[in-house]
Point group: D2
């Protein structure tokens, strides 16, 4: 089946493998009239680029985006926007060894079971490079949201046992630290922690968080298309994510109702919540408060220690993975989370434009 399409109105379809000719995305359903150029998108792609620090793979990937359609005289036309990034640095090397066995923690085995064989070069379609299409499309979603007064901000919340200190929260740090932490001190500690892990040929998990500010109350559909349900899908679909939380998340399961309910109050003639345990969503619909999503990411499965596995001849073997791999996925995945969140929220807002007769009559009269 088709698993590479996301969204109802703002619909994206990604394509491409780690070591193929190119990767890309087609955005269908982007409203007409948005000013858009390559730089708007490149800015986001650069945030997921590796090779920028010790804690990411030293592979060099240019990841230059090209707009192939859907933009005319600097504005979107309402027709499909095709975005492509060519694979330039894929070294032609010998993959025969990796082709023969299943790496623990990777999708080698499950792809073979599903399709009968797989593109084994660098993970093929299950590679992290698949997210290039998500980020390119998400950059466009972010630009639209900005014009509607909505801001999406993702960052690293913890790496191993090193967490950010909410009191040190500094939005500028996100783009200025190699960990994408909004806390310069935590960043320093996390870098040291990662250095140790790397020395013992190990990898590390982490947690990332995304805030969405400025979403009007009333966005999201009841029952199955709840805003939080679609956020959970969007974020869990990012490779290596194993848990998604909304608002206070897992903490609610050991809490009393009297401590978990957010009281409504009046502030500046508007209805607000006194606290935000709910993370900005009630009954699957935005309540006007900041939306909070959190994702827990497993350690990079490619580690440089000897591991046990089996090969396609059904033999148990010991393997030693080679190559260039990030010791942690999180810092580069932060922008992916930001983009998937933006895509989900924007699509929900577009879907919502026909929710009432009032809105409909206003549009057509």
């Amino acid at each position: 089946m088709a698993g590479s399409t996301f969204g109802t109105i703002f619909k994206i379809t990604t394509w491409g493998e780690s070591h193929g000719k190119a990767l890309g995305v087609v955005i269908d359903g982007c409203p007409a009239g948005l000013p858009l150029n390559e730089a708007d998108i490149q800015r986001y792609l650069n945030r997921r680029k590796p090779g920028t620090s010790n804690i990411t793979t030293p592979r060099k990937e240019d990841d230059e985006v090209e707009i192939l359609s859907g933009v005319f005289e600097g504005r979107t036309t309402g027709t499909p926007i095709s975005l492509m990034v060519k694979n330039t640095s894929q070294i032609s090397k010998d993959y025969s060894e990796i082709a023969s066995y299943y790496r623990p923690g990777h999708a080698d085995y499950t792809f073979d079971q599903k399709y009968g064989f797989r593109d084994y070069r660098g993970g093929g379609r299950s590679s992290g490079r698949e997210t290039i299409g998500r980020v390119a499309a998400g950059a466009v979603a972010c630009k639209i949201l900005e014009q509607l007064g909505v801001q999406v901000t993702a960052y690293t919340r913890s790496i191993g046992n090193v967490s950010i200190n909410p009191e040190n929260f500094d939005r500028n740090a996100i783009l200025n630290t190699v960990t994408a932490m909004p806390d310069y001190e935590a960043d320093k500690a996390a870098v040291a922690f990662l250095e140790n892990a790397r020395k013992s040929s190990d990898s590390v998990g982490g947690c990332m968080e995304c805030m969405v500010e400025g979403v009007p109350a009333g966005i999201g559909e009841p029952v199955f298309e709840k805003l939080d349900a679609n956020l959970a899908k969007a974020i869990m679909s990012i490779g290596a994510v194993k848990a998604v939380e909304i608002g206070d998340g897992t903490a609610v399961s050991s809490r009393l109702g009297s401590k978990n309910n957010d009281s409504f109050r009046i502030k500046d003639s508007s209805i607000v919540k006194q606290t935000n345990h709910a993370g900005g969503i009630l009954g699957g619909i935005s309540d006007g408060d900041t939306i909070i999503v959190r994702a827990h990411v497993k350690p990079t499965p490619s580690i440089f220690q000897t591991q046990q596995t089996v090969n396609k001849s059904m033999e148990e073997i010991d393997i030693q993975i080679k190559g260039r791999h990030d010791p942690i996925i999180v810092p580069r995945a932060v922008v992916v989370m930001e983009c998937m969140t933006a895509l989900t929220v924007l699509d929900a807002m577009l879907v919502n434009t026909s929710s009432t007769m009032d809105g409909l009559e206003r549009f057509y009269k």
Copy 2:
């Protein structure tokens, strides 16, 4: 927009409000030839019925299901199966008070913001009774899965701070305890805990877990339609769920790769994983191991203490909620989780039937 439909091939559409005439579901895409009768479905609906113990609301709801279409001579015909449960015990009472303000933790405010007004009787469409359609459809999915050798089992894992002890795990206890815990001892402790909460007019959160055994490796689509992504959506779409975990879930974010990877081994001439941190899913595709999903559920928002809120005249007021409400949602939500999981896994299996040329040629030759 339409938010009440779930699934690609096995597609369900639920309808109905807490205090309307009836609630129901239409299943479209059920394979033809499945033996099916009302008792198959009633068995599941009975598990979500209230009034069976001290820890659920004393409201009496019969929730008797009727098959209106799609079954002929005891077997499904492949055409839509319409299932209906009439609302019988909805007392005509005065809702004018509740209509005037927004209950904390409920969807009253967000529905009003989205639609301009709302059916305020008992929560309307955002009521827990909405899950009747999910459970009725899920019962059919479970029956199909059983015939394919797949078993879905959900249970309560913790209530407040009372967790089950894995060493006491007893599958029979799930249907025999009021808490739906698979551990008679934990059940006793949890009941005591709930009794205390009720005495202080408070409510309690909890955690539920679902295991799926017997799913063949290779189920789930890459990228956006990953099996875990769709499970996350399915489970997060259940009212009051605030976090979803797959396998070791949140624990992975503070773990090293060498401890998190599951080694592949050979057992009885088959490929198996030595551990199951991954929860049965790698790269979004089932790996043949037991699938593990966990959901964290917030405390019932309806509590009997005085709470602060605002009314539709934009005044800050104190309210005292009346009525009949469960002090905890989890024990009755367990069967909803089981059903949503079954619906997701079955749909992924149906979608998978056309994934290879081999499979296709086998079907048509």
Copy 3:
């Protein structure tokens, strides 16, 4: 798979068989705030009821609609509207004969081939009664369209060789003639023609047409979701329809471009077309002119002459169909065409509410 759902935003799912307990439809995605009651819908259902004249089956079907959900205090709430019609006059008779063979021109054989067996009572799901759900949902669509200034009108254009005379076109005649022709004279001729066909135990085909007035220019999506493409699907999905035309339809294939192009002109400060060969749609998008759709309907396959066919034991046999059948489908199908057209146009208008940044910003600011 699921074949019983239609629409993207205004999404309907029909269910029910000819001789089951009931038939119905769930509308999901209806804008909130529309005044709606049973009478609004009954009015349309009555137009497809049989037993009202010599040219329709003498079966009596009450077809009384019940609103089960989605309407509160007389207005739609934005949540699913469940509509049900109970089957009351289905006589329990012996179907063993009809179950054993395949009626020519019916779906008996193809249902058996697809599903392995079929509900053979009165055609089951392939019965004309399936359209009850379409008409009930279409009535709601028509009511919304009326509020937006759009009027949908279908009528019979020809029966056998008897066509309406455009010069006699009288809108009132549609609801006042047994043939649903907008021409009293043609109606008289057609009734005579039908009487002859009935006497020779034969049935007759016909052509129906639908006009949509008041659709603003700009509705419909390019490429695959063209307005005419979706109309073609909607109308061809009505049982017995074998051809669909837009505007001048089949006539264009033998025409010169200089005769087929519609010139644009200015009238009352608006852009209009001097002619309407295009039928109100250019490039799949409405051009502001009247939309014209035509459907050709085959003769009722149930005729009372001896016919040749085969039975399930693979024997060639002669059969003589009994029962109550319309000698022509068209007069009762006209309201089905009106409803499917309304559903298609309304859905395209709802989808269009997010086509430009201007529209989006107007909605959210």
Copy 4:
């Protein structure tokens, strides 16, 4: 909204404008294991290329396809297949005139009304070049169908008043005549007719037909996803098509039931129909007979006579279109019809793989 995606399982998304950088398509949901290379696709694209005769535009378009993803070691991997054709011969010319007014019969006016502005270079997204993506994807569908024993064949049936003679039907002629007629004599007459039209600066309409042989009985879903409904949508979505017929099509509306029903008979131990008025589809489901679809195509709207229209300043003006345009669309559209038919039939076959419990159990056991 997104209008550029087609299909449920075999899902294609096309992109690109007439004068943009490139055009292409992403196929998501192609079964894994199909041998595929560029030549398989190029063969189909060459059939829609212009410049091959007097009756097509003298524009030269190379239309060379490149496979960017989804194929590994010569076989499809089950992941998205991205196909691209670069625009090479798009001359940078002055479009300011065409940008200022609305060409009769084109989508200039409706695109402006929908989106606020348009890419006016060569029709932008409403250009016939948009079909490149359809044909590239359709070529892959045709290859799969061939492996399943299904053959799709489209051809020109009439041009103006020149029709093929069924007695002269010669399959080889389709690819060997400039008109794509399966009748060398009719081809000669049609070419003469076209020459006359061209001399009078006019254009001509035509009719094309498609046969699908070898489809097993049982394909297609009831109600809205009928095989003929989806064929009608697919074919009507091709620019310039104004009518779609199945089997005997429009002829059925003036016919008696006794002449229109196809009797079932036994032949070589199989059930067959004695005639095929139905065009291979009963109740929306294939009956095992040849599927017949017909499309009526309007004359090319770009003619070289003086025409009346309006400009964006709301003035009535006379225009004279320049450039290179086919006097008839049909011969190049035949392969587009073949491809859209193949895509529709293949998708219906893929969807059908989970229609019965028997099929499902066979797949999973």
